[in-house]
Assembly symmetry: C2
Homo-oligomer: 225 residues x 2
Amino acid sequence: MPPEAYYSIHPKFHSAVDCIIFGFDEGELSLLLLQRNFEPAKGQWSLMGGFVQEGESLDDAARRVVEELTGLDDLYMRQVHTYGDLGRDPGERVLSTAYYALVDIKKYDRQLVKAHNAHWVKLPDTPHLIFDHDRMVKDALRFMRYQATVKPVGINLLPEEFTLTQLQALYEAILGEPIDKRNFRKRIAAMDYIEKTGGIDKTLSRKGAALYRFNRDKYDGNFKI
Amino acid sequence: MPPEAYYSIHPKFHSAVDCIIFGFDEGELSLLLLQRNFEPAKGQWSLMGGFVQEGESLDDAARRVVEELTGLDDLYMRQVHTYGDLGRDPGERVLSTAYYALVDIKKYDRQLVKAHNAHWVKLPDTPHLIFDHDRMVKDALRFMRYQATVKPVGINLLPEEFTLTQLQALYEAILGEPIDKRNFRKRIAAMDYIEKTGGIDKTLSRKGAALYRFNRDKYDGNFKI
DNA sequence: TCAAAAGTGTTAATAGTACACCCATGA
DNA sequence: TCATGGGTGTACTATTAACACTTTTGA
């Protein structure tokens, strides 16, 4: 076989990315979902997705798609899985790679989200999604939960500075179960990469709660998972 | 945009699978690698791979590729990651999805392996591989190690019946560290889905070692991870 | 009878879990 | 002064880790 034929005898496929965008609000995880005002599957709910373009890596495609919707360009994102079953997109054959992204829900671009007819939906209220997007959400959630147990990825869902009460509520939302306050704070105290900023947040209590931040340098030195 | 243009305006790409095939022999993990007698990269070492075909799911492509090399069609396989960087294949743009497979190293088809100029290489002796295959091996190994700590996937590297000494050596190879024999056997004894067959293996000792097998039904009832 | 691998329990250390009250503050 | 969320310590339980000798048997 001549070298140039090595590639050309094989078929090509559309390659897409679909993004599971997690936010955290009012003590619950939320997803940013599209109520599609375009074909195919107009009128139904779906994840934000897009096709990989020439000259664009798979990771870049995922970043672009999330930025198109949220205006945010430096989110924590991880590849979850690639879905390649035959009938998964009823239109044409498309291989799609799912990525999850973690967003500070106070920061996204409301104009863009509105323009795409997207909405934040609390995880337990997630509607049925098109194609195999339900499965993608399930897989992404499981992967994100696992990641959250081995490294502090959840912090990407909070603002720069946060209180321990917020952090605990976040982890309760991620893990889906209540956590003992004293045990939780003991564990956090042992993590020197979560440090007091000195600031105090008085929006939720008269007494005020100490603000903390994540110190990436200290973290990278400690673990590196 | 008319519906039919939704797909057609986007580019298509070659989609491939690359398979990290693990075996276990002489107390060490091994990889089944090709010493390529074909282009591109003839003469260099690589993983076994292949292009996804029309009418074939991504998982099916991975199964086919592994079967072409080993003759085995019901291996334990898991998707690891999809690699989509621009220059990853210097020939043309190819998106490749890596899968790992676990093989009982006594069972593969020697004719096929020979025909492909493939060789079992002990993991620490792995040569440099083409493209991004080094990274694929690293990612697959990490994923397989993680899986092995949460469910007994390693058993797929052993014959149907095995001794506890074999099983311990396997886990020492997977985890890359020695394990205390008494603690190990205590842990296995607590797993009712690893059961004595009644048989005795006398090939390694005069005394003989009890043979065990994995009972899938009991396992599925217990956990289901 | 001895070499070689198989098999067997106890104790100590560590990690994880359960649990309830006082504190500071502004309205 | 009191309602509200913030903050704190100890005892118990479960899990994991360390550790060395006896058994069986065929050559």
